[in-house]
Symmetry: C2
Subunit: 209 residues, 2 copies
DNA sequence: ACTGATTGTGAGCGATGGCTCATATTTTGG
DNA sequence: CCAAAATATGAGCCATCGCTCACAATCAGT
């Protein structure tokens, strides 16, 4: 019963055409994941969809998990690319503005390929020992923690870790679930109400006695 | 590429010894899930652990998914058994008391076999089309919705569905994550702080302008 | 043009797991 | 005590999947 925690690429692509092969494989993996889900995705199917031989696949990836890990990494980088600027700007804003912007940007970030996000998100707890959070949450957690530290004077923060945890987990869950499972909640004009309510809850929590 | 959405038991147990067989199989399934996780659990292993032949297994369950579905059902019934009384009592309590009790009871409910809960919870999105919530959340959602309706006068509820969604999802996530992934957050004396903070956030959200 | 390095190919091996079916055992009802 | 029904058994078939390897095609540097 040997585990297969192989994640690292087997070989680095040095020529241009091999880089193309790698890209095509990642694209195919994402497509298969969305179309069939994780369980029924197989390396053979991925290779076929990529139009690449199974042998080539194994030249660059030791297995399905490595492919999914690479796709996950790429996906979270895309999400962060959407969010990072806004999050940095928010650091010097007052609470109301900061929280509202955090909620808004989290919704946008989750709207980058929501179907893929859903599949990957379901898979995360069972692979890479992130133990508690994914890479995206982790970075957000660090930012919120720093924000709370800098604005502690104007806020009611009993326990920094706990408060940061509550804020990040709440925003992450509400936006994730809304985008992925309840799009009706944030469709069109409804989105503003959703943002208002979530923001109000967190602001009153952070400022209140 | 035939799906296998078989969930229903293949045959009803009519004699006593066959009911024992079914029980033993469910017990074994739960143990295997906790020990090995969903992926590496197999019907052969489950039958072996149950001390029952693989043929008998297939007499009552059409496959792994059916077994897991049955275990899931049983598990959520146990959780609800822990929570239901408290939730009913809470219906006539003022907001502060009601929310605090909701949070407390949710933690207790999640402490019924947390390891099994974790595995099942990871699996739920990928099987039975609950689409958005599990059975447990669904019942809790109904209760919270009713509570909000009855106490609307003293509360600031803009949109009933949205408010109920925010409350249930927030409590569910925070308690789930705390119990399953961050036990340190609710260990010993820390638990009171956790409950205080979560309660404060929701109460101020529900009452505040 | 030549040659070694890089990249690509896919038939097929071995392992695993889902599930069946012919057969055996136990229970029930009369 | 005796059928017939219910229940239990497990060897083994079959499909799938991960992955290798011997070989072919392409490219880079000279």
């Amino acid at each position: 019963m040997a585990r297969k925690p192989q994640i690292k690429p087997r070989k680095k692509a040095s020529q241009q055409r091999s880089q193309v092969t790698v890209d095509v494989l990642l694209e195919a993996t994402a497509r298969i994941l969305v179309k069939d889900g994780y369980d029924t995705a197989s390396t053979n199917k991925i290779a076929q969809m990529a139009g690449v031989s199974i042998g080539s696949l194994y030249q660059y990836f030791p297995g399905k998990e490595a492919l999914v890990a690479a796709v996950t990494d790429q996906h979270f980088k895309e999400m962060m690319a959407v969010a990072r600027d806004a999050l940095v700007n928010v650091m010097v804003q007052p609470v109301e503005t900061a929280v509202r912007e955090l909620v808004r940007v989290m919704i946008d970030a989750h709207r980058v390929n929501p179907k893929l996000h859903r599949v990957l998100f379901e898979q995360i707890p069972r692979m890479g020992r992130t133990d508690d959070m994914d890479a995206f949450d982790r970075e957000a957690f660090g930012m919120v923690r720093t924000y709370l530290e800098h604005h502690r004077a104007e806020l009611n923060v009993a326990d920094l870790e706990l408060t940061a945890f509550i804020c990040v987990k709440t925003v992450e869950t509400l936006t994730h679930t809304a985008v992925v499972n309840h799009p009706a909640l944030i469709a069109g004009a409804k989105q503003d109400l959703f943002i208002d309510e979530t923001t109000r809850m967190l602001v009153r929590y952070l400022k209140g006695k």
